[in-house]
C-alpha cells in the first residue's frame, strides 16, 4: 500500500498546489455566502432558499472539480511525460490508477467539506436549523462526485483530455435522466426500448444520490435505503476502476 499511498499523496499535492482549485472553491463559497443577500430579497421560505442554493452550489462546483481535475488525472501524466518515471518503478499499473483515484477522491471530499463548512456558517448566521438529513445529503453528493471521478478516470485512460471531459459531462447528464430515458423507452418500439434500457442499466443512476429534497422537505429515508445507495455507489466505482485497469494495462507509452 506504500505505492498506492505515494501516488495518492502526489495527486493531492498536485491538486492543492493548483490555483484553479482555489478559484473554484472560493467562487463556490462566494455563491453560498450570497444566499444571505438573496434571502433578504425573498418573501417566502428563505430557509428553503438558503439550503437549496447552498447544496446546489456544492454539487455544481464539486462536479466541475471532479470533471476538470479528474479527466487530467492520467492524461496530464502522459502529456507531461512524468508517467515514464512512475511506471518504470515497481508499481503495478492498477496500483497507480487506484492511487490516482484515491488522491482525487480525497481532494473532492476535502473540497466538499470546505464548502459544507461555508454552508454551515451561512445557516448559523441565518439561524436556519441543521438536522441529520443535511449530513446525509452531503455524503450523497460526495458519493456522486466519486462516481463521476471514476468515470473521468476511466475516460482519461484511453482518450484525450477534451474528449474525456465531454464524455464525463455526458455521463453526468444521462445519469440524471435515467428515469426519463426509461419512460421514453416504454413509448418506443422494441429496438428503441432495448437500446434505452441498456443505456439505463449501464449508466450510473446519479439521481439515487440526490437527497437534497430530503433536507428541504424532510420525509422518510431509512438507513437501509442509505446503505443501499452507498453500496450502489461503491460497487459502481469498483467496476469502473476494474475496467480502467484493463484498458490501462494494455497501453503503450510512446
Amino acid at each position: 500500500m506504500i505505492r498506492v499511498w505515494a501516488v495518492a499523496l502526489c495527486t493531492i499535492r498536485e491538486a492543492v498546489r493548483d490555483k484553479l482549485l482555489y478559484n473554484l472553491v472560493a467562487f463556490a463559497l462566494f455563491l453560498i455566502g450570497s444566499t444571505i443577500l438573496l434571502s433578504r430579497l425573498t418573501l417566502g421560505d428563505f430557509h428553503r432558499l438558503v439550503l437549496d442554493v447552498g447544496l446546489a452550489s456544492i454539487n455544481l462546483f464539486g462536479v466541475v472539480i471532479a470533471i476538470f481535475v479528474g479527466v487530467g488525472l492520467v492524461n496530464r501524466e502522459i502529456d507531461r511525460k512524468t508517467i515514464y518515471v512512475v511506471l518504470s518503478k515497481t508499481i503495478p499499473r492498477w496500483q497507480f490508477l487506484l492511487g490516482k483515484y484515491l488522491g482525487l477522491a480525497c481532494t473532492v471530499a476535502g473540497n466538499v467539506a470546505v464548502m459544507a463548512v461555508g454552508l454551515a456558517l451561512v445557516l448559523w448566521v441565518m439561524d436556519v436549523p441543521m438536522h441529520g438529513e443535511l449530513a446525509g445529503a452531503l455524503v450523497a453528493i460526495c458519493l456522486e462526485l466519486w462516481v463521476l471521478t471514476a468515470v473521468a478516470l476511466l475516460c482519461s485512460t484511453f482518450t484525450t483530455t477534451t474528449l474525456s471531459a465531454i464524455c464525463t459531462l455526458a455521463v453526468y447528464v444521462i445519469g440524471h435522466s435515467i428515469g426519463q430515458l426509461t419512460a421514453l423507452g416504454a413509448k418506443l418500439d422494441t429496438l428503441g426500448r432495448t437500446v434505452l434500457t441498456a443505456i439505463a442499466y449501464v449508466m450510473p443512476d446519479l439521481e439515487r444520490f440526490n437527497l437534497k429534497g430530503l433536507v428541504v422537505e424532510p420525509h422518510s429515508f431509512s438507513s437501509l435505503d442509505f446503505s443501499l445507495m452507498v453500496a450502489y455507489g461503491l460497487t459502481y466505482i469498483g467496476s469502473l476502476l476494474a475496467l480502467a485497469t484493463l484498458v490501462f494495462k494494455r497501453r503503450d507509452f510512446q
Binding site: I2, R3, C10, R13, K81, T82, T90, R250, D252, Q254
Partner: protein, 317 residues
C-alpha cells in the same frame, strides 16, 4: 537462454506501432539482438527515430514488445521482481514540477516500495551525490536543465538498482554540465552498475562506453567494443610528415599519394592503405629524406556512424 553474466539480453526484439485510425504499421525496432555484460557502459548510437528510446521503454515496461525475448539480469521481462533492477532516466527530464526535490525523491522511493525512514537516509546520500543538497526544499519548476538531469539521476538511483538506463542524459546540457554527467556515469561504473545510455553526441559515447551498438531505422548495424569498431582497416589512410625531400623524391611520391601539402621545409602526404605506405617509405629511404611522423587516420565513431547510416540508406533505396 539467458546467462547470468548478461545484464540485458534480447533475441529478435521487435516493436511495431499501429498508427492512426487505420492502424498503419510502423516498425520502431526490428529483430534486435543484444547481449550486454554486467558492469559495462553500453552506448546506443542512432539518429532520431532509430529506435533507441523504444528499446529503453521496452526494457522498463513502458512499451510491450510485438515479438522477441528479453531477459534482464537473467529474468524474463515481465516477471515480477521484489525490487526494480532498473533505474531509468527518461529523455528531457520531465518530472513532477510541483514537488520539491526532497518530496520528489521520497515519492519515487515509495514507488519502489521503500519505507519513509529508508527513503530519508537514501535521499540525503543522493542529494549529496548529485550536488543538490542546498536546494532540497525548492520545487522542481525552479530547477535549471542541468539540475533536472541531476535530480533525474538521483531518482533513478533511489533504490540502488544494479542496472541504469539513461536516455540522452547529455541532451541540453552545457559543457560543464556534460562533464559533470560524464563523471557521474563513470562513477556508476566504478560502483559496479551496468549503464545503458543513448546519445546523439558521439564524442560522449566514444569517451564513456566500453561497447556501443549503432541503430539505423530500428535495426542494429554494428555492435562491438569502441576500439574494435574504430580499428584502422587495410585500405584506410595514413598521414606521413617528411623532412628534406628532394625534387626527384617528390616526383616519385606524386603517383603514390592522394594528397600532398608543402608545409615550410616539410611535406605532408596522405596515403591510402598499408602497401602504399611501404612504397612511400622506400622513396623516403632512396631520397635520403627523414620521416618525421606516420599517423594512421583512425576513423572516429562519428565517421563510422555516418558511414553505417549511408550504407543502410543505400541498401534501402
Amino acid at each position: 537462454m539467458a546467462t547470468a553474466t548478461w545484464a540485458v539480453r534480447t533475441e529478435s526484439l521487435t516493436k511495431v506501432f499501429r498508427l492512426g485510425l487505420r492502424g498503419r504499421p510502423m516498425t520502431a525496432v526490428h529483430r534486435v539482438d543484444l547481449a550486454i555484460e554486467s558492469g559495462e557502459i553500453f552506448g546506443f548510437l542512432g539518429a532520431n527515430g532509430a529506435g533507441k528510446t523504444t528499446i529503453f521503454k521496452i526494457l522498463t515496461g513502458l512499451v510491450t514488445p510485438t515479438s522477441g525475448n528479453v531477459w534482464i539480469l537473467g529474468r524474463a521481462l515481465g516477471a515480477r521482481a521484489s525490487a526494480s533492477p532498473i533505474g531509468f532516466l527518461p529523455e528531457s527530464g520531465y518530472y513532477h514540477e510541483f514537488l520539491t526535490a526532497e518530496e520528489f525523491l521520497r515519492f519515487t522511493g515509495q514507488l519502489c516500495g521503500m519505507s519513509r525512514s529508508r527513503c530519508a537516509a537514501r535521499i540525503d546520500e543522493l542529494l549529496e551525490l548529485v550536488g543538490l543538497t542546498g536546494v532540497r526544499q525548492v520545487t522542481l519548476r525552479a530547477f535549471s536543465k542541468g539540475m533536472l538531469q541531476r535530480i533525474g539521476i538521483a531518482q533513478a538511483l533511489i533504490n540502488d538498482p544494479p542496472l541504469m538506463i539513461l536516455d540522452e542524459p547529455m541532451s541540453g546540457l552545457d559543457p560543464i554540465g556534460r562533464k559533470q554527467m560524464r563523471e557521474l556515469i563513470l562513477g556508476l561504473k566504478v560502483a559496479g552498475k551496468t549503464v545503458l545510455f543513448s546519445s546523439h553526441i558521439v564524442s560522449d559515447v566514444e569517451l564513456l562506453c566500453d561497447r556501443v551498438t549503432m541503430l539505423v531505422k530500428g535495426s542494429v548495424v554494428a555492435t562491438g567494443r569502441v576500439r574494435d569498431l574504430l580499428h584502422p582497416r587495410a585500405h584506410e589512410p595514413s598521414e606521413l610528415m617528411i623532412e628534406g625531400m628532394n625534387e626527384e623524391g617528390l616526383f616519385h611520391l606524386q603517383p603514390l599519394v592522394s594528397r600532398l601539402v608543402h608545409r615550410d621545409a616539410q611535406v605532408v602526404v596522405t596515403v591510402q592503405g598499408a602497401s602504399q605506405v611501404e612504397m612511400v617509405l622506400d622513396v623516403i629511404r632512396v631520397s635520403k629524406a627523414r620521416l618525421v611522423s606516420l599517423t594512421p587516420q583512425q576513423r572516429s565513431l562519428e565517421e563510422l556512424f555516418a558511414s553505417s547510416r549511408d550504407e543502410s540508406s543505400e541498401v534501402n533505396s
